[in-house]
Assembly symmetry: C2
Homo-oligomer: 160 residues x 2
């Protein structure tokens, strides 16, 4: 099963997120990641979610989503050339003998160090899921204290 | 009323997000933005949410959250020195006479152009809410075609 990314334009109202996420869990679909935030129109929010599961059931869910009164539009990024990005904040243990190596990784991955202490660095990374997982794997041996991850957002590329 | 940022460590299971967001909407609290994604432990997800509302009711919600069996920990970032970041993908109309100005803005804000066409740029920005809103306001006159925004994630600073 492959990952599927859906983007929903919805009314920015209490209860909408709960109802939508309930539609997925009611069918046994786990939502791997989800972001919701305002669009350029403050009355409309965009929910981007990543899920995995049976294609036929996902199609049924999409039909049900389209019927919900607070759902304005459902965009399925399958087979649509798109830009995918997520952001990671990672607080990594930075003992003296590892500090230079961590900053080399930060440099190669074009990340930013956003907080520093005698025993840690906090690093901001953006990229697709592959890049985020790659840097996580590289930093894991140093000791990861804490991470916060946004989940994926997406925009379709425009045919040039 | 000021914005409040909560971070929840929860079991990565279907239904958890729906129940938690339902707790907020049931009390009339709108969730302004929310991110959920895996932590370094795949069985645990971190939900970061931004809301606004009466302090007393929010305290009640926090108590209820703490009682939920799938909620491992609730972190309130109020009065806690922390790093806040969100990410924005913005597709902006880029007519020939605006292209140089848009790239100057990209440069000043340390953003990245991630897609380009004859009539548009797609730009990736990270920063706190203030920075994200500032660039949105600067680019609005050029014509914003579409945006996708992650919502805020947070990590506490470590006392050095």
């Amino acid at each position: 099963m492959e990952k599927r990314i859906l983007s929903l334009l919805v009314d920015n109202k209490p209860g909408v997120l709960s109802r939508i996420s309930g539609l997925f869990s009611g069918r046994g679909f786990n939502i791997e990641s989800l972001c919701v935030a305002e669009t350029k129109n403050p009355g409309v929010s965009r929910i981007t979610l990543v899920t995995e599961g049976d294609d036929m059931i996902l199609e049924q869910i999409q039909k049900q989503l389209n019927k919900l009164i607070n759902v304005i539009k459902v965009i399925d990024y399958k087979d649509k050339p798109s830009i995918y990005r997520e952001m990671l904040l990672i607080k990594v243990t930075a003992k003296p003998n590892f500090r230079a190596e961590i900053l080399r990784i930060v440099d190669i991955f074009r990340c930013k160090a956003v907080d520093v202490g005698p025993e840690h660095y906090t690093i901001e990374v953006t990229g697709d899921e592959g890049k985020i997982n790659a840097i996580l794997n590289l930093l894991r041996p140093m000791g990861i204290k804490e991470i916060a991850r946004t989940g994926t957002i997406a925009l379709a590329r425009e045919s040039a």
